[in-house]
C-alpha cells in the first residue's frame, strides 16, 4: 500500500500552526487535485479530488473521519472511498523543534547517532532520499533549523486501494503521494510564514 510521511519546519510556534490546521477550510485547497469538500459534522467530511495517475485523471470521492483530535499536537483521521474501493489513514503531527534530538520523520533516514562512518552513511542516505523523493515548491532551505519558537509539522498518509486491481493501483498512486504530502505540508507552512511576515 502506498504510504508517505513528510516533515517540514517553520519559525512559528505550535499554537499558531495549530490554529490554522484545525480549520480544514484553511488548507483544503492545498490538497493535490482538490475540487471540493463538505463538512458533515465536527468529525466527518467528504472530499472530491481529481487525481492524475499518468494514463488519465480520475475524480475520487471519499469520506474523512477524525479519529483523534489531540490539539495542539496531533490529528488522526481515517478515509474511505465513496466511488472507489479504497481505505486509508493519516495524521498531522505538530511538535516544538528546539534541539537536535528532535525525532526525524519516519520516511526519512535517521540522523547519525554513531561514529563517523555511520554519520557518513546517514548523510548519503539522506541525500539519495532527497533525490528520489524530490522536494515540493517550498525549498528545503526554507525550513527552519531547531530553535526556540520553531515547530515541526509532520504529515503522514497511507492509502490502501482494494479490489483485484489493488497492486496495479498501488503502483500508479505511489509516485503521486510524496509530492502531494510535500505540497500540502509546505503550502501550509508557506502560507503561515507569509501571513506572519517570515517569507
Amino acid at each position: 500500500m502506498p504510504e508517505v510521511e513528510y516533515t517540514t519546519t517553520a519559525k512559528l510556534p505550535v499554537d499558531t500552526i495549530w490554529d490554522f490546521v484545525q480549520e480544514m477550510d484553511n488548507w483544503a485547497p492545498f490538497v493535490a487535485g482538490y475540487q471540493s469538500h463538505e463538512k458533515l459534522s465536527e468529525k466527518e467530511s467528504t472530499w472530491t479530488l481529481k487525481g492524475d495517475v499518468g494514463v488519465m485523471a480520475r475524480t475520487v470521492k471519499f469520506q474523512v473521519l477524525i479519529e483523534e483530535w489531540a490539539g495542539p499536537e496531533r490529528v488522526t483521521f481515517s478515509l474511505k472511498g465513496l466511488n472507489e474501493v479504497m481505505e486509508g489513514s493519516g495524521t498531522f503531527q505538530l511538535a516544538p523543534y528546539e534541539d537536535e534530538t528532535a525525532a526525524p520523520a519516519a520516511g526519512e533516514p535517521a540522523p547519525p547517532t554513531g561514529g563517523l562512518l555511520s554519520r557518513l552513511f546517514a548523510a548519503i542516505a539522506r541525500f539519495f532520499y532527497g533525490l528520489v523523493h524530490g522536494r515540493a515548491e517550498r525549498a528545503q532551505s526554507a525550513d527552519a533549523g531547531p530553535a526556540a519558537g520553531t515547530s515541526r509539522l509532520t504529515f503522514h498518509l497511507r492509502v490502501d486501494p482494494g479490489g483485484p486491481m489493488a497492486p496495479m493501483v498501488n503502483a500508479m498512486m505511489k509516485p503521486m503521494l510524496t509530492p502531494a504530502a510535500e505540497g500540502l505540508a509546505n503550502q501550509i507552512m508557506a502560507t503561515l510564514e507569509k501571513r506572519h511576515g517570515l517569507e
Binding site: 494514463v55 466511488n83 474501493v85 483485484p164 500508479m172
Partner: protein, 554 residues
C-alpha cells in the same frame, strides 16, 4: 497556403508533421538515407494516435510467424486483405502495400530496434469464414519497452487508459481476456508500472520515439502545430508555417513534407459531413482535427474516400470524472458481448451481434425511412445481477459502486425500461426472447458466439457459448451508449504509389507526402481489420521517407 519567408527559422531536408507511426517511420527511414529531418507535433507529447491505441500491426506471413512455425503465405494474406476491402480498394495501392510491408516492418525491427513479436492466440477478425484468414500470429506487437531509456521524453510520450498498462497481448488472452479481468496478474502489472515498462501502443511508440529522437537525435518539436504548407512558384511544397510559442515558426523542408496528422474525429463539421453522422465522438485526444484536409486542399490536393460503412466505429460511454488531456474520456464499450448483457435501441429491441463490431457497425448508421431517423445511434447497454457479480464495467470492478449519473438501476425490467424511457413491453419481450436462446447457447437472430475473434476478446470460456448468458437476476442495469470513433476515417488525402499527395488535376504535388490515417484508405478499401492502420502507417512512412530522401533539394 503561405509563401516562403525572408528568413527560415529551421532548415532540414524532410519535415515530418505528426509523431505517430507514419511520421516517425518516414523520419527514421529518411534519416538513415542521409536526409536531415525534424518532427513537428501539435500535442505536448510524442506518439500520436499510435501511442494511445492497442499497438497491433497486422502483417500476414510475418517473420515472427515463420519463427513460431505458424503456417501462412503471402497469397493467403492477399486473399484476406481483398475480402476485407470488399472491392473498394485501389488494387495498385494494395499490391504495393503488401509487396513492401515486410521490408518496412523488418527494417524497423533490424535498424530501428523495434522488438516485434507475434500476438499468439488472436484470430483475424473474419476467421474462419473469410478466404485466407488465420487463427493466430498475424498481429505483431512489441515486447515490453523500458521507458526510462527515453530520457526527457519519458514524461512526454503518450500513455493510454484504454489498454491495461504493462500487459502484453498474449498475457491478456492467457489470463482469460476482458471478461476475466478480475483474475489478471495485477502484482505483475504493478511491478511493470513501477518500472515504467510499457506495452501496447505506448510500448510500440516507445521503440519508435527512441529510435528517432534518442538514437538518431532527430529533433522533435512538441506544441508546434503546423498551420500552412509553404509552396514555391511552381506549386511544390518547400516547407511549413508552424506556430511555436505564440509566434510563426517557418521550417524549410528542402526535400519534402510528410503530413501524418491522423484523421478528423474532433473536427465536428468535417466528421459530420464525411461520416454522415450527427453524433460523432472520438476516443483519442483532441488533436485529430482534420488539419490535412484543410492544408492539403488549400494548395489543390485532392480528397479521396472509401465507404464509411464498416471501418472502425464503436459504441462507448463516459465515466464521470475520467479525463485525458483535460477532456472527458470516451471508453469504447465491449461489455455488451459478455454473457448476461445485451444492447437495445430506443425501441427496446436488439439489432446486432453485440460482441462483433464488424456486424454492429453498419447498423449504427441504419436509417428508418418512415420515421426519418437513425434508430441505433442512441442505445443502451443492459445487464443483470449475474453480469454485475462477474464482469467489470469499464474500470469498475464487480462490487465497486457504479455512479448514479451513469448507470440506471432497477429491480425489474419493467422499472428499468421506464427509467430508460423505452417501451417496457418491448424490453421485456426482447430479454425473454434473448434468454430463450441464451439458455441453449444460441443466438438465432444475430449469431453471437460465431466469431472466434470476439470470443477471444470478451468471451467467458466457462460458458457453453462464451458470449451468451441470460438476463435473469436483478438488479438490472442500463448504461446509455453513443457512437465513438477511433480515428480511422473514411476520407483522406489522395496519394500515389510513392505516398505523394495528388493534385485535383491528377499529378503528384512535388515535395508533399501523406501517410497514416491522413492518407485516404485506398490501399485497404472498404473494410477494416485491426492492425492494418499501423502496418500501412509504417509501410507508407517507409516509402515516403525513401522517396523524399532521394529527391533533389528545393
Amino acid at each position: 497556403m503561405a509563401s516562403a519567408p525572408a528568413q527560415w527559422d529551421l532548415e532540414v531536408d524532410v519535415a515530418c508533421v505528426g509523431s505517430g507511426l507514419g511520421a516517425l517511420s518516414a523520419a527514421i527511414t529518411a534519416h538513415d538515407l542521409g536526409a536531415s529531418c525534424v518532427v513537428l507535433e501539435k500535442a505536448d507529447k510524442l506518439g500520436g494516435l499510435s501511442g494511445f491505441g492497442g499497438g497491433e500491426v497486422f502483417v500476414p506471413a510475418n517473420r515472427c510467424m515463420k519463427e513460431l512455425g505458424l503456417d501462412d503465405t503471402l497469397d493467403e494474406g492477399r486473399a484476406y486483405y481483398e475480402f476485407v476491402a470488399a472491392g473498394f480498394q485501389s488494387q495498385p495501392h494494395m499490391d504495393k502495400l503488401l509487396a513492401t510491408m515486410h521490408e518496412a516492418i523488418d527494417y524497423m525491427g533490424e535498424k530501428a530496434g523495434v522488438s516485434w513479436k507475434a500476438c499468439q492466440g488472436l484470430p483475424d477478425y473474419y476467421y474462419a469464414d473469410a478466404p485466407g484468414s488465420k487463427a493466430s500470429g498475424r498481429y505483431l506487437s512489441v515486447d515490453l519497452f523500458d521507458a526510462k531509456t527515453l530520457g526527457e521524453w519519458q514524461q512526454k510520450t503518450w500513455l493510454t487508459p484504454i489498454m491495461p498498462p504493462g500487459a502484453l497481448h498474449e498475457e491478456m488472452y492467457a489470463w482469460g481476456g476482458l471478461a476475466k479481468v478480475t483474475e489478471w496478474d495485477y502484482e505483475l502489472l504493478g511491478q511493470r508500472i513501477a518500472e515504467d515498462l510499457r506495452s501496447f501502443g505506448p510500448g510500440m511508440m516507445g521503440f519508435f520515439v527512441k529510435a528517432a529522437v534518442i538514437d538518431r537525435q532527430i529533433p522533435a518539436h512538441t506544441e508546434t502545430p503546423v498551420r500552412e504548407l509553404v509552396t514555391d512558384d511552381a506549386g511544390a511544397v518547400i516547407g511549413v508555417r508552424c506556430e511555436k510559442g505564440g509566434s510563426d515558426f517557418f521550417v524549410h523542408a528542402r526535400k519534402g513534407v510528410v503530413l501524418a496528422v491522423g484523421g478528423y474525429d474532433h473536427n465536428k463539421p468535417m466528421a459530420t459531413m464525411f461520416e454522415e453522422m450527427e453524433d460523432w465522438n472520438g476516443v483519442f485526444p483532441a488533436y485529430l482535427d482534420g488539419d490535412h484536409l484543410v492544408m492539403g486542399p488549400e494548395i489543390g490536393a485532392a480528397i479521396a474516400s472509401v465507404p464509411n460503412t464498416n471501418l472502425a466505429l464503436f459504441y462507448g460511454y463516459q465515466i464521470p470524472g475520467e479525463e485525458v488531456d483535460g477532456r472527458p474520456l470516451w471508453r469504447s464499450s465491449w461489455e455488451g458481448g459478455c454473457p448476461h448483457a445485451i444492447w437495445v435501441n430506443k425501441e427496446g429491441q436488439r439489432f446486432c451481434d453485440e460482441s462483433f463490431y464488424k456486424d454492429y457497425q453498419p447498423r449504427i448508421r441504419e436509417w428508418d425511412g418512415k420515421k426519418q431517423e437513425q434508430p441505433n445511434t442512441d442505445i443502451w447497454l443492459v445487464f443483470d445481477g449475474n453480469y454485475r457479480e462477474r464482469y467489470p464495467l469499464g474500470s469498475f470492478m464487480p462490487g465497486q459502486p457504479l455512479p448514479d449519473e451513469m448507470v440506471v438501476v432497477a429491480d425489474s425490467l419493467t422499472e428499468l425500461a421506464q427509467r430508460m424511457e423505452v417501451p417496457a413491453s418491448n424490453l421485456e419481450a426482447t430479454v425473454a426472447h434473448f434468454n430463450e436462446g441464451a439458455e441453449k447457447g444460441e443466438d438465432p437472430d444475430y449469431g453471437r458466439g460465431s466469431m472466434p475473434w470476439a470470443i477471444r476478446l470478451v468471451g467467458d470460456e466457462s460458458y457453453p457459448n462464451p458470449l451468451l448468458g441470460p438476463l435473469t437476476k436483478g438488479p438490472y442495469h442500463a448504461v446509455r451508449l453513443r457512437p465513438v470513433s477511433v480515428g480511422i476515417n473514411s476520407h483522406g488525402l489522395r496519394w500515389n504509389l510513392d505516398a505523394q499527395v495528388e493534385h485535383v488535376r491528377g499529378h503528384a504535388i512535388p515535395g508533399f507526402y501523406t501517410v497514416g490515417n491522413s492518407a485516404a484508405l485506398l490501399d485497404i478499401g472498404g473494410g477494416y481489420q485491426s492492425g492494418t492502420s499501423n502496418s500501412r502507417a509504417i509501410t507508407w512512412g517507409y516509402v515516403a521517407g525513401r522517396h523524399a530522401a532521394g529527391q533533389a533539394a528545393r
